[in-house]
């Protein structure tokens, strides 16, 4: 009984497969005869794809040459220096800006110090004593 069922299933699968392959053969026969304009467009698409593949390969080869150059120079094992080199300009820019800011601060402080020094070191001009505002300032109590 079991063998009978197995035989039926196998026969069914074989029949399905045979039929399917016959249909596929017909489809292949039909696909062999496409309209000339379709065949032409397919040819164009194929050539375009091959051109793209060629360019892609050339690009890969270019990268290969670069890699061999690196190998000769002894850098091929690690790529950390490439990353470092890529962030180096940014680090230099930020460092430069910090230095410029610091230099400007120092210059401003230096100029202010020179002015203060000149003012404090110089004698009080005589006209200052004749200024009513200055007299009031001197008379006023220090805590006001």
């Amino acid at each position: 009984m079991k063998n009978d069922n197995r035989y039926k299933i196998a026969a069914r699968e074989a029949a399905e497969s045979r039929f399917a392959r016959n249909v596929a053969a017909c489809l292949t026969e039909s696909a062999g005869t496409v309209a000339p304009d379709v065949a032409e467009r397919l040819r164009f698409a194929r050539e375009k794809s091959l051109e793209i593949a060629r360019r892609s390969r050339d690009g890969a080869q270019g990268l290969g040459i670069t890699a061999s150059g690196e190998a000769i120079a002894g850098f091929s094992q690690s790529r950390w220096w490439l990353r470092f080199a890529s962030v180096l300009p940014l680090v230099a820019l930020v460092g430069g800006l910090v230095l410029i800011q610091d230099w400007q601060n120092r210059t401003q402080i230096s100029v202010a110090a020179e002015v203060d020094e000149a003012l404090l070191g110089d004698d009080l001009p005589i006209n200052a004593y004749r200024d009513p505002g200055f007299s009031e300032f001197l008379k006023a109590p220090p805590n006001e």
Binding site: R18, R46, S49, A53
Partner: protein, 189 residues
């Protein structure tokens, strides 16, 4: 890595079948050509460095994806919701239809039954193509990949993104539906 000649030969060998497959799916010759071109370009751009043996499976996968992309674009363009999940055959009841008997009858090279002289070979092929195009999408894809592209069950499952059991079910249903439809039209083997 596949050489340029291997890639060229491969594309030449699959391009017409691929176009037919796309036509069955989208039912528009120009759109099918665009899909095949897109598939070839994607294969060449991304997988030209793969061994030649890997190209068939990759190509079928890309073709399926490109076809789905086309349907998605159409859906957005037309704002029409198309029910892709309706993969079940409308003629589900096959109690009165002895498939094994029919399949056995459809054994040899396809030909017309009683009107063999009056129906040309080209018409028979056209009818078969039309019936294949009428299959539900997943059944048709499984059938074509399995029997036309001659992928094995595992490769077909990988290409369709489903289980091997689903592939077997889709293929079996497709064969039964085709056998029944062709028998009804007087085409047997």
């Amino acid at each position: 890595m596949a050489t340029e000649k291997e890639l060229s030969d491969f594309l030449k060998s699959v391009e017409k079948r691929a176009w037919k497959r796309a036509v069955y799916a989208v039912r528009d010759d120009d759109a099918a050509l665009d899909i095949v071109q897109d598939t070839m370009i994607r294969l060449s751009e991304k997988y030209a460095d793969r061994p030649a043996a890997e190209l068939p499976l990759l190509f079928q996968r890309i073709l399926s994806n490109a076809t789905m992309d086309w349907f998605r674009r159409q859906k957005v363009r037309n704002q029409v919701v198309r029910n892709f999940s309706d993969f079940e055959s409308a003629a589900g009841k096959e109690d009165d239809f002895d498939i094994l008997e029919t399949l056995e009858a459809l054994g040899g090279p396809l030909q017309s039954e009683s009107a063999a002289e009056s129906v040309s070979r080209a018409q028979i092929l056209q009818t078969i193509e039309a019936e294949v195009a009428l299959l539900p999408a997943r059944q048709r894809e499984a059938f074509l990949l399995r029997y036309w592209e001659e992928l094995d069950v595992a490769e077909t499952a990988a290409s369709m993104g489903c289980s091997e059991g689903s592939v077997k079910t889709h293929c079996s249903r497709a064969v039964h539906a085709l056998a029944k439809a062709l028998k009804a039209k007087g085409i047997s083997t």
